[in-house]
Every structure is written in C-alpha cells, then in structure tokens.
Amino acid sequence: MSLHRVDERRLREVALTPEEYRVIVEELKRAPNEVELGMLGVLWSEHCSYKSSKALLRRLPSSSPAVLQGPGENAGAVNIGEGWAAVFKIESHNHPSAIEPYQGAATGVGGIIRDVIAMGARPIALLDSLRFGPLPGSSHHVEGVVAGIGGYGNCIGIPTVGGEVYFDDCYTNNPLVNAMCVGLVRVDRLMRARAEGTGNSLMLVGADTGRDGIHGASFASVELDETSSDRRPAVQVGNPFLEKCLLEACMDLAHTDAVVAIQDLGAAGLTSSVAECAGRVAGAGAHIDVRRVPRRERGMSPYHVMLSESQERMLIVVQRGREAEVEALFQAWDLTSAVIGHVTDDGHLTVVNGKDEVARLPVSLLTDGAPLRRLIGVAAEQPPGLDIDALPPLVDPGATLLRLLASPNLSSRRGIFRRYDHMVGDATVIPPGGDAAMLRVKGTRLGLAVTTDCNSRYCHLDPHLGAQLAVAEAARNIVATGAQPLAVTDCLNFANPDRPEVYWEMEETVAGLAHACRAFELPIVSGNVSLYNDSSGESAIYPTPVVGMVGLISDYDRRLAAGFRAEGDFVLLVGSSHNDLGGSEYLKVEHDLVAGRPPALDLARERAVYRLILAAAENRLLRSAHDCAEGGMLVALAECCLLGGIGVRCPAIRPESPIRLDAAFFGESPSRFIVSLASRAMPELQSLARRHHVEISLLGLAGGESVEFEGQFRLSLAEMRQAWEGAVV
C-alpha cells in the first residue's frame, strides 16, 4: 500500500511514529483526517495505550477470593466484608508536576479521586508518594507539590492520611508525584464504566470544556527537554470546589437506577473516556456531537473539544428517556450537564459537529490498536560492590543516630502532613506519622490500613530484589497496625524504556513485584505506569515501583500504633539482624556511598514474622508495633520513643561476630519489628514466637526522657526531636 503523505512534523506533534501511522492507514484503508489523527495520537500515547508495558503487566497476579474488580476498570475493588468494598488506585502526575508543581500535583489528586468516584465509591482517603532532588535545591518543587496536594485534598474534604517523601539526586530534574485514593462502596453498588445498551445517552457533566491540556497525554509520554517549558499551556488548573460538587452529585446518582455507568475524563479527555467506556462492551460504539459539549471558551474546534483535558468532568451513561432525572440531580448542585451523544452497536466512535461527520474510527483501533512495542532489556552494569570490612568501625552511635534522624529521608514528615487535613471524615483512627494510617469503616468495627512504600535506592541496586522489598515494606507497615495485608495497587515510575537497561529494570521490577505478591497472596488490582522520567536522556530516575497497599482489621479496637505507650513496658526486637548495610541510609549519610546489594529478603521468614505480629495483636499482647525500615533498628527505636514521648533504657549491644555493631544498630535487615508490651504478656509472646519460629530479643525497658544504651550512648528525647523535626520544611 502506498503510504499516504503526511507531514513528519504533524506526526511528531501527535506523537505517532511513521510505523504507527502506516498501521492506522492499513486498518482504516484510508488516511485519517486531522481530528482522527489527533484522537489516535493521544490514545496511542504511552500514557494511554501502555504499549511499552502491557506485555509485562500481564505477569502480575491480580486475583484472590477478595477481589471484586481487578485491573481494567477505573480502579480496583476488594471485598472487605459486611457488605463493603474498598476501591483504590494509584496514579502518577510526574510530568505536569515537574512543569507546574502546584497545579500538577493538585490536578493529579483531582484525577485519582475521579477514578474512585467512577466506581460508585465515596473517596475516604488520599495518599501521596513523592520524590524530589536534594534539599534545599528542590524546595521550590517540594513547596509547590505539597501545597498543591493540600490545596486540592483539603478543599474537597478528603483526608490525606499517608504517603512518603524521598530525596535523591536522580529526581532533581524528574520529581515524582504519585497519588493514591481509597474509597468505599456497598458491594452491590459497585459500578463499572461500561457503555451498555444501544441507544442509551451519553451525558457530559461538571466543568465546561476549555482548551486546556491538549496533548497532555502525549506530553507525559516523552522526555522533558529544554523546550518543555514552551508546552506549558498544557498544564491544567484544578477546581477542587467544582469536584466536590461533582463528587456529591455522583453519590446522589445512587438514588436513581437510571445510570448505567460513570466514567471519569482524564488524560485524552472525551476521546479516551468515550472510547474506553465503549471498548469494555463487545461491539459497542458511540456517536457524539461536539456541538453539544458545553464550552468555556469561544472558537474551539472539534479537535480541541475531543482532546481537551479540562478537569472535573465525568461521562455518564444514562438509560434513554431518563436524562432529565440525572440532569436534575446535577442541577441541584448547580452543575451543568449535557447529552452529547448515545451508545451505538456499530463498534465505531463517530464524532459529528452538528450535521458534519468529523471523525469515525473503530473503537478497538483506538483502545487496542496501538502496536505493542517490542523492547529489549539488557542488564544494567552492576552497581558498585561494597567491601564491608573496609568500612571504618562505628565510633559514636549516638552522634550517628542524630545525623540519621536529621537526614531528609528519615526525618519527621510532620511539617508536611500537618498541611494536609488528615482528619476530615471522622474516620482516621491512626493518623499519619507512624506506619500505615488506618480508617474506620463507619457503622462497623472494620479498619482499613493504607500505605505507600518504595525504597528506590534498593531498586537501583537490584530492581528484582528492590521490588520485593517494596512489597514487603508496605506489608510490614500494614501489619504493624495489626491489620492483614489485603491487596495492592502499584505505580511503576521509570526512565526511558527505549534504553535497554531501563527496559531490563522494568522486567526485573515486574518479576520482583509478581514474585513477592504471589508469596504473600496479594493481588494487584490496579495501577499505573509512568515512563520517560529522564530529562534529555541524562539523569534517569532510579526504578521506582511505588507499592500502594490496603489491609484490613476486623475490629479497629485492636489496632496498634508505633509509639511507646507506657513506662516500664518491655521493648523487643522481633526478627533477626544481619550485616545488611548495602543500600542503607547509614552508608549514604555516614559514608556517602550508594553501594552493595540491598538486604536479602526471605519471603517465608517475612510471612512468619507477619503471622506472629498479627497473632500477638489479635490476642492483645502488644502495646505498640513499628517496623524497622530505612535507618535500621536504632532509628526505628528512636521513632517509637519520639512518637510515644517515652524513652527507653537498654543494656549495651554487643553483637556476636560476624555481626558488626554498625549493622546491628543501622543495618536495614527486613522482617523486623520493634514492639512493646506489658511485662506480664511476655511469657505468652515468647511461646507464640516459638510456635511461629521467629526470633525475639529483649532490647530494654520503656521509660524516661532519653534513649540510652548503657555504656554506649545516651541522647535526650529533646535533642533527638530537634534533629528529627528540624529537617524537612
């Protein structure tokens, strides 16, 4: 077939390759017109089509008896009992946040909330997983992003209860902003965004459509370069107030059975929402008239209308003849709604402008037509090894502890989360600051624990192991609250996958995630992929597979927090320590090294430790629990003291050879917790530990105003707090 002539520049503008263009012409048996080309361009962008990652994602486990909805819908859903489903998803807004930190982050939050609403669920919590270049250079980004997340979440009235913040050189030009939303819906009210029923109406509700964000999806699918700032008009401005009204109106839709489906408008706007909705039903198509789309601006072409990424809009599939009922529900919230078309059975998305047809494309070509990219992974160069014997011995553990507490990667996040309303909803029974946060399910005794985790330094040193450790850390944070890990959502942030070592990282990461999730019997029910996080090919980010996890406790009265609760309690280390200094924060802060292998993870041991902690929590043996993560045992212990306002007295630690003192204090061996309990509960815990084959050791006694290891060091809580709370903003 002769290739239809098309301007190369035009192709680049819509981010299609000549090869992809050839496939389009072949499938259509004609050249696409301008509007069609634009529509295909956005839907075939990496962001929407997953053409570089789809094959890999199929390897992730996605089922368990609790799963009500796995990947493929706007968000995943799991059954949590008593008739309730938890709905959740994580999503990236990295590129927009790099360009405009406040609005990029804010609209990221707005977008993920709409995904949860589309499932019919009421959003009950937000989490944010953030990565920046080192402070103070990145403070402009940090300030903007934190303000943007708070600005949206606080205004809309959904508590932001958790997240994480890391600083590393690799994020200097590519900050990462991932947002997760969790919602609740009655199981029998769970919606799916399927355009069922030929003749049913398609209604567009919420904000008027403007020219904002055209080509946003393609924008997220290319590397940032010097010209990126010229594309800045692509950045949208969020309106959380409008989304709050939209949220309430969508909740009111439950009062009518006239609604068939709800679909949010995100990347690629109307084009993708209509195509996706139709694409989920075999043979379905849609007919829409751009003239009926309410506009914010004059002079918009059909192309603009179809590709606009204006925020705070939803597509509603409504039973024919019942549009007025739905319109009235939105009208009550002063929201505009418009019937813009209807569902067809011709498998095509037809777009008209009044009488003129402006586009007609097979739905399957839009949603599934993008040729998958065959990428090749080649193992990256081995990162520098670590000769542990060459490290100078630890001299002053107290001084090191203070420096670690003040390290921006370990310091208190209070300066950030106090800018987020984390209480609205009257459901936050474990606030941010410890391990996972917990939300009660009102009207029941159920508690949902939620967390996001990823140590990307580990992933850089060994992506396969790093991904497993991310799953394990998330699960450990859930378990530390006494909740059972239930399901996962993941956000895979990578550099340019066309580079073989990056694609290799992706392969390894996905394999690691799959391996750990299978071992813990955790389904991955939703997720997102963000690629091209490298500016101009340099300064690629570390592989950063952020794991969002949800856990369940049957009675939140049995929940555990991280801080010590009572003087005189026994303080124990659960699990065993090894010479795990590879990739540690200790190495970075004290020796300026990013080297070695991340700590080895024994998945069976890790599970055994979970079982022990959960059994002990179930039997109310524990007064507090906190996992050991970055900074190792001593930082975890210090956090228990600072969070509880109670010190600890311990005999000196004299590890048996070959375990080193620095590793005992600051090594990051996984599968460990610090717990406290009343002395009388000790025998029972000991027998429980024996039964689960988990090592426990007495560290000391809670009490006093300092952390003391006899003869080794002593620090007052006050000086520790000053170091810990002084670091991040």
């Binding site: 606080n154 205004c155 959380p240 106090r418 800018r419 209480m423 609205v424 009257d426 029974v429």
Partner: protein, 234 residues
C-alpha cells in the same frame, strides 16, 4: 433537641457534625440545604466546616448570601442558637453576625493539628458542661483562621467577655507558641453580645469519640443539648 446542619456547596464537615449528633450524641439531626428558606424547626443551627463555594475570593464571602443565611440571621436575632465551626465561623463574620474577620494563617500554611483551648466562658449554652478555665484538646484544620478585629472591636470583645476559647499550652497558659495561626489575643472562638451565636475555628466534631483521639468536643455538643431546653426562642 433538634440540630440543623447547614450544607453549602463545598461544605464537608456537615457529615462529621451529623455523625456526632446522630450517632454519638443521639440527638435529632436535620440537614439544611443552602437553598432552604426554612429552618425546619431546628433548635440549634450549625454552620459546619468546609470550603463553601471553594472559599474563592474570601472565605465565606459568597456563602453568606445563600437563602438559608437570611433565615439564620432572623433566627439569631430572636435568640436562636447558631454555632459556626471553622468555615462556619468565617461565614458568620462575613455575614456580620459576629465581629471581625479571619485572615490567612500567619505561617501562610494550612494547619491540621491538635490544639489546646482554654474555656473562658462556661455560662453559655455551648459550654455549660465545661468547667471554669478548663483546658480542652481540640484539632484545627484551616488555612485562614487568623482572627482579626480592629482595636476598638477587640477591646469591646474583651471587656464584654465575648472571647470563649483561646489557644493555650497544655497547662492553660496563653502563649505565643501555643498560637497556631497568628490570631489576635490567641482568639480561637467568640460569641456575640447576647451569647447565642458562637464562632470557633477548632473542630469539636473531630474529637467526640475516643478512637479519634479525644472526647472534649462532645462536651460542647452535650452543653447545647442540655441548655437548649432552657433557651426560649420568642
């Protein structure tokens, strides 16, 4: 005892207040829509927290023109109990039902945290269950809670004992470091001269159950429930 909880577009503490009234206190609950022209026989009207109309332009600026506000003004004039919490306080100031205004926090940052409040009036229908100069533990969550009144208004407020809550430290001392937002005289809540309209920035509905970290807020709801019986709305 019937509580009316007003819902504007953008309000979000309505459901939390409703939860406390209905599920914790066990009192009668009536949501009032901003377009309602009738208070439906409520004995105490709560203007809850949130971002009514997005708080665009100024907090409470647009909300105060909602149809329900006119009725609430009349109700207050007749001695009815009106209780503005957070955004509700901002709306009451905008509407002129309480003096002063709420500016951006001195830090220019939103703050969600626990605060201590010293209760300076216990003879009010809102605080009768508190003891004299009791220190209560109540969270705040706002970006614009920095209370301001011109010097004349301020001295009038102080002279007439209209300051009900002040930010203080755990021992009840009113200090600079205990002031989370820069409010003049550490003011966290005020009442009108007649004592039937209360505005406060902190959120009592967020601390009415022990699992949420404290129950001091419930004292205020209980006070209203107890004393409403005595207030005669003429």
């Amino acid at each position: 005892m019937k509580f009316g909880v007003v819902v504007f577009p953008g309000t979000w503490s309505d459901r939390d207040c409703g939860w406390v009234i209905d599920q914790v206190l066990g009192a009668e609950l009536q949501y009032l829509w901003h377009k309602d022209a009738d208070l439906k026989g409520c004995d105490c009207i709560i203007l809850p927290g949130g971002f009514a109309y997005g708080d665009y332009l100024r907090t409470g600026a647009i909300a105060r023109f909602a149809p329900v506000m006119e009725k609430i003004g009349n109700f207050a004039d007749r001695g009815g109990l009106v209780w503005g919490i957070c955004n509700g306080f901002q709306i009451l100031c905008e509407a002129g039902l309480l003096p002063g205004a709420l500016l951006r926090n001195a830090s220019l940052e939103f703050r969600c945290q626990w605060t201590n409040l010293v209760v300076e009036r216990t003879d009010l229908p809102f605080t009768s269950q508190c003891s004299e100069r009791e220190v209560i533990h109540v969270p705040i969550s706002h970006g614009e809670g920095n209370y301001f009144a011109d010097p004349a208004t301020l001295s009038r407020l102080e002279q007439r004992g209209q300051v009900v809550f002040r930010y203080c430290d755990a021992t009840g001392h009113v200090t600079n470091s205990a002031n989370p937002n820069g409010s003049v005289h550490n003011i966290a809540g005020i009442v009108n001269a007649r004592g039937n309209v209360l505005g406060m920035m902190p959120h009592p509905e967020r601390c009415s159950e022990i699992e949420l970290g404290g129950t001091d807020g419930l004292k205020l709801f209980r006070s209203v429930a107890a004393s409403a019986m005595k207030v005669l709305v003429s």
